[in-house]
Symmetry: C2
Subunit: 196 residues, 2 copies
């Protein structure tokens, strides 16, 4: 990495942390300048606009998400095992954001009514994510663990619901049983899909 | 209503609409002044601070929520019927916010990392809401429709998950099958709880 790339990467890491606390639109360039110890014009030298920065924050978060959530799942055996690894990696990912929770969850609620390129980028990311859950659930069908007539899109829908709710239960409500509830919900979604 | 109360109520209605689009913290007093055609100092005559206004927006939304979601459920027969009415009223409530979606959903994700009196008020509201779902699910147990060993708190957790995800599926992803998916998820949560 060149010095410029390193600086850019350090800004993005800091910006992602700020955005996960106050939101992508809530974050101001002034606030980010204070956090990084850079001037506003120094920041604008790396990112042409606040919108460009927001899109880069999503890209940066997506890369980390692929490393921490998608890769471990794809490296585990096809089928139910892989689906469970995906779910557990997501739970670990969500818990790892000590200060602000999963940025995608926060951005989804923040941007749903704000049309534009940042929302478009987020929708593409979320579509990829839902399709990945569908694809992985389908490996449990082809491995003969799930019945061939299960609706894998409905399974992805219900798993995604539990993920959103986990954030609510653990971060907002600070319920000590949040993880236990999420895992029980996962188990019952799986149980209904099993052959026999 | 006195003239002052009417003005205050009109401001709250407008403020709630703005907040459901840009968020409770995203909303500025200047923006609200532009929307209502009032001066900033005119607004501060009705609400001592932005924080006081945010808490009043939650209270205002809660009143409408009780009217539109809680009351219809409590007026329908105890048991599964009441639980279904609650769920359907919530779906209708969520669809009714043409511009901004359910304010409680947006605020939950926005405020989960922002300690203070606004977050505290929201947590109280959400606790009441979850307890209401638990209480209504329990009427299906006492009416003999749900098995006596079902965990009604887990049912409330899973129903709440579907509600959060409905907002995501319909508003962010604009999935035309969002309502159908939400209802199928509701049905399978119920099915697992039924006395066969």
């Amino acid at each position: 990495m060149s010095k410029g790339d390193e600086t850019r990467d350090a800004i993005l890491t800091e910006a992602t942390s700020v955005a996960s606390k106050v939101g992508l639109t809530g974050m101001s360039i002034g606030q980010l300048a204070a956090h990084t110890g850079m001037s506003k014009s120094g920041l604008y030298a790396h990112f042409a606009s606040k919108e460009a920065l927001q899109i880069e924050i999503l890209r940066h978060t997506r890369e980390r998400f692929v490393d921490r959530v998608v890769r471990p799942a794809l490296q585990s055996p096809r089928g139910l095992n892989r689906l469970r690894t995906l779910f557990e990696s997501w739970l670990a990912w969500s818990e790892a954001f000590e200060d602000g929770g999963c940025l995608f969850v926060a951005a989804s609620s923040e941007l749903d009514d704000q049309p534009g390129p940042v929302r478009d980028a987020l929708v593409r990311d979320e579509r990829d994510w839902l399709e990945l859950i569908v694809t992985i659930a389908a490996t449990a069908v082809s491995e003969g663990e799930f019945r061939s007539d299960v609706d894998v899109e409905q399974i992805a829908y219900e798993l995604h619901a539990i993920m959103l709710n986990h954030q609510h239960t653990s971060r907002l409500m600070q319920d000590p049983r949040a993880l236990e509830r999420a895992r029980r919900a996962f188990d019952s979604i799986v149980e209904r899909a099993l052959t026999t």
